[in-house]
Each structure stands twice: as C-alpha cells, then as structure tokens.
C-alpha cells in the first residue's frame, strides 16, 4: 500500500480506527487485546510511513509505564506468588503480569493516538467533525486548545526572558529551575485570562454567537466503503468489549 493511502483516508475514519484500537486494547482483558492492537498499529505505521516518527510517542509513556510497573509489581492486591524478597519489598508474578499487560495497553493507546495525529491534520479532523454535526463551540474549544500550545510556549519564553532581564536565575540546578517557574505562573495565568476576555469580545464581533448553522468550507473526501469500515470497526469493538464483559471470550 503506498504511504499516501492511509493518510488520504477520511479523518473521521482514522479517528474511528484509533477509537476502536483503544477500546479493544483496554476492553479486552489478558494479552490478546493489547497485543493484537499493537500488531495492527505496527502494520499501520509501516504502511503509513510513520513508524520512525512514532518512537517519541512511545518514549513519552515511560514515566507512566515505570509507575505502573512499580505499583502493580510491588503492591498488587491479593497476590502471594512472590518473585523475590528484597527487604520489605515483595514483587509478585501476578503483579508483574498485570503491570506488563497494563503497559501494553498504555503503549497501544499512545500509539493509536500518535498514528491519528501523524497522519491527520487537526484542522481536517475538526472540519470533518464539524460537517458531521460537532457544534461550533466544540470545534472552537478543541481547535483553539491545540493551537494555544505553541502560543503558551512562546509566552512562557517571553516571560522567562523578561524575568532573567531583571536578575532572576532560571538556569542551573533543578531547584533553581523550579524556583524560576513560580514567578512564571502568575503572568502566564493572568495574561491568558486577559487574552481570553479580549478574544471573547473579538469572537462576538465576528458573529460567533449567530444562531445559523456554521458553513463548512472544506468537504473532505469520503466513500461508501469507508462508511462501512467505520461502522464495522465501531460496532465490532463494542461487541468485543461486551463479549469480554459477558464472559463469552476466553482469550489468553
């Protein structure tokens, strides 16, 4: 499959794929759910040509993975199959198994979101969701939150520079850096609140509260086959989780 094929899928199709993957990874117990999803994700990443760019997303889960491993392995409730005693610590096989399964689920979730993000421009996704009925407020909140991240980064840089210009030491040891964050918080929060007030008025001045249904400028390609795939995946994922809950699935 050429790399562009997956990218060219309708954004909502890719969103449903990511949703189904996350649902199966978390909803189907044992190894099968998360492992199956990870296999699908690996194949999709290769097909879409984004495998290498997914590495940072996997690495970003490390802090969470470490905490999952420590908590479950050491403190798994009701587990007595101790691996080895290390003073007061008693890691268990049951805990380790549960931790590894939870780790796979977290990684599967992160990578399903990563593939969606790497293959789908946010504006395309919002535009398509808006066409399907997502309200202007929902679209605005999601869109502005995403676009706000780099703006907040720039603002933090400006405030840090101005604090440094007045003698604040924000470099060096961890303690110094943490100390430097405190004077950053006030201007960041108050500045953002002031901007929100002005932006709200600017939005009103651009008829944001008009009652008419908002016009969609871009209609992204879709097809009957993709509609079918979306429904099959959506219903299939829900059916799998329902079967798991009902005890009908006996997977490892």
């Amino acid at each position: 499959m050429p790399h562009g094929t997956y990218h060219a899928l309708n954004p909502t199709t890719k969103l449903v794929i990511a949703f189904a993957e996350a649902l199966v990874a978390f909803g189907v117990r044992g190894w099968t759910g998360p492992l199956a999803v990870l296999v699908v994700l690996a194949l999709t990443a290769l097909a879409a040509g984004v495998a290498r760019r997914m590495v940072p997303f996997a690495l970003a889960t490390i802090p969470l993975v470490i905490s999952i491993l420590l908590v479950n392995t050491l403190l798994y409730p009701g587990a007595h199959d101790v691996i080895v005693r290390l003073g007061p610590l008693a890691p268990t096989w049951s805990g380790l198994t549960a931790a590894l399964q939870a780790t796979l689920r977290v990684i599967a979730f992160a990578l399903s979101a990563a593939i969606l993000g790497l293959t789908t421009p946010t504006d395309d996704l919002l535009s398509d969701l808006e066409r399907r009925g997502l309200g202007r407020r929902g679209t605005f909140v999601i869109g502005s939150a995403i676009r706000m991240v780099p703006r907040m980064g720039e603002r933090a840089g400006e405030i840090t520079d101005s604090q440094r210009a007045r003698g604040m030491d924000t470099q060096g040891s961890v303690i110094r850096r943490v100390r430097g964050v405190i004077p950053l918080a006030g201007p960041m929060i108050f500045g953002a609140l002031t901007e929100v007030e002005e932006q709200t008025m600017a939005l009103e001045a651009r008829a944001f509260s008009a009652p008419a249904r908002r016009t969609v400028l871009r209609v992204l390609p879709d097809s009957g086959a993709q509609r079918l795939v979306r429904w099959v995946l959506f219903l299939g994922a829900i059916a799998a989780v329902a079967a798991e809950i009902a005890g009908l699935l006996h997977l490892p």
């Binding site: 421009p121 703006r151 002005e198 939005l203 009103e204 001045a205 651009r206 008829a207 008419a212 400028l217």
Partner: protein
C-alpha cells in the same frame, strides 16, 4: 443614517461609577472620526458601547441612546450588531480566532458563523483581501504574520461581515511606523472607497491629522473638545488634556513662542508641508475622501 451616541452614560457591571458621562458623538457614512484622550478617560469604553458589545456582551448599565442607522443597540444581539458595526481592538493576536491555518480561512470565520453560502463567503473574502491590498497573505498561516499584517487580517476579518461602520480601539498601538502606515492607509482608503464610517481611538495624533475629518477629545468620561480635525488638533488645550499635539501644531507653538507667530509665510510653509507630507489613502492629509455607497447600510 449614522452611528450615534446621544447622552450615552455607561457603568461596568459591579461598579458604582459611570465611566461615560453623557457622550454625544456622531459618525456619518464615509467620515472618519478620531477619538483621543488621556489614559482612563473612557476611550475604550466608548468603543465597546458604540459597537454594541456593551452592555449586550459584557453587561453593565447603559443610559442614553446608542443607535446604528436609527436602530438602538440595546435590543441588538451581538451577532446582529457585528454585521452593522465592526470593532477592532489593539492586540492583533487576540483578534484572530486561533483555529485556522490560512489567512483566507481566518477572514472567512465571521461569514461562516452567519451560515452564508460558500460562494458568498469566497466572494466576501476575496473582496476584502483586494480592498485592503493583502491578497498575497491569503495562503499564509495567521500565526506567522507580522504585527501590522496580523492587524490588517483582523481588520479584514471584521470587514468580511460587511459592517457599515467600524470602531477601532487603538489599532496601531502595537505597530511599528511601517505597520501604522499600512493600517492607516487601508482605513483611509476604506472610508473613501466604500463609505464606511470609522470611529478610531488613537494616541498617534499624526495619524489622526492625516486621516480624520473630525476629532473629539475625552476627559474623564466627557467630551472636552470636539470639531474638525485641523481645529481640534491645533487647540492649545490638547496637551492639558493628556494628548500630544501633532508635530505641525507643536512647531506652530514653538514658532509662536520664538516670536515668529505672525510670520504668515512660515505658517503657509508648515501647512504646505503637512498637506504634502503624510499621505494617507492616496490623498493629502486634511483633504476629505470621496464617499462611496455604504457597505452594509
């Protein structure tokens, strides 16, 4: 037909004091009215009241009359007022929606909110891009524009709603001389070519001298001076009201103090330099613009 404030008094929600204390102001189609005054004199509040955002959007209490072409703003929803009177604030970054990837889409944001047909939206966007001379910006990312460009895009976004009047709250305060010139030229051209009535709050009296027909000066919520721009901007009380007179007026005062005040040739030279100096909208300063049909009257 005008944007009219008659005896307008306004107090913000939760406060006990009137910030505006009986303002009378009229902006006719095709006219540019400048508003100056010291800090805290009520200039920004006049903008909010004149555009209908106060009290409809931000609350507070408005007494007196504020009307756009004879229709009181008190009963107007913000989106209705927006189609009659556009408002532009001083910070270009907060004017933009922050949700679009191209300037074209940013300008289309307002018309889309009105639910207009795509053809109509495209037509409006192309018209406003041409009118402001910023067609080259259409494919650019709004987040990557210079201050002057961003303010022009914000102005374009408001104009795409086709308001008959514009209220501008220090639109050049964050701009360098080049950005100020860009915005000033665009505004003067707009008033001249489309008959849009403009109320502009501005500290830069040079800009007011170059583009405004009339100027009013506020002092603690009241109009202290008002009249034709050349007269008001040459008034010796201007500095006492916290407004720096334009260079030509300061030069007149200096010459007067040096005993050259009666030299008519010197005054003629100053006036000639002012008329031939800052040109805005393709016309010499002080010359009235040609008035075309209102945009959305």
């Amino acid at each position: 037909m005008s944007l009219t404030l008659a005896g307008a008094r306004y107090r913000y929600a939760g406060t006990a004091r009137d910030v505006l204390d009986g303002i009378d102001l009229e902006v006719a189609p095709g006219r540019v009215v400048g508003l100056a005054g010291a800090n805290e004199s009520g200039k920004s509040t006049v903008c909010l009241v004149a555009s209908g955002l106060a009290p409809a959007s931000i609350g507070g209490r408005l007494d007196g009359s504020v009307s756009i072409d004879g229709i009181e703003t008190k009963g107007m929803a913000p989106h209705e007022a927006a189609q009659r009177c556009g408002v532009l604030f001083q910070n270009p970054t907060t004017q933009l929606s922050g949700t679009t990837v191209t300037v074209f889409e940013e300008i289309a944001f307002g018309p889309r909110n009105l639910g207009l047909e795509i053809g109509e939206i495209v037509g409006r966007v192309e018209w406003v891009l041409d009118t402001l001379g910023i067609a080259a910006l259409a494919p650019k990312d709004p987040a990557r524009l210079s201050g002057g460009q961003a303010q022009l895009v914000a102005l374009a976004s408001v104009l795409a709603l086709r308001p008959a009047y514009l209220v501008l709250d220090e639109p050049t305060s964050q701009l360098d001389p080049q950005g100020t010139r860009l915005v000033g030229e665009a505004l003067a051209g707009l008033a001249a070519e489309t008959g849009t009535g403009i109320l502009i709050v501005e500290h830069k009296t040079e800009l007011l001298a170059a583009m405004a027909h009339d100027v009013a000066v506020l002092e603690t919520g009241r109009i202290a001076l008002a009249g034709p721009a050349p007269e008001v901007l040459a008034d010796p009380r201007l500095a006492e009201l916290g407004v720096e007179p334009p260079a030509s007026a300061r030069l007149r005062l200096a010459l007067g103090a040096a005993g050259l005040g009666s030299d008519r040739d010197v005054f003629d030279a100053i006036d000639g330099a002012a008329a031939g100096g800052p040109r805005v909208g393709g016309r010499p300063a002080g010359e009235a613009p040609a008035v075309g049909p209102p945009v959305n009257a």
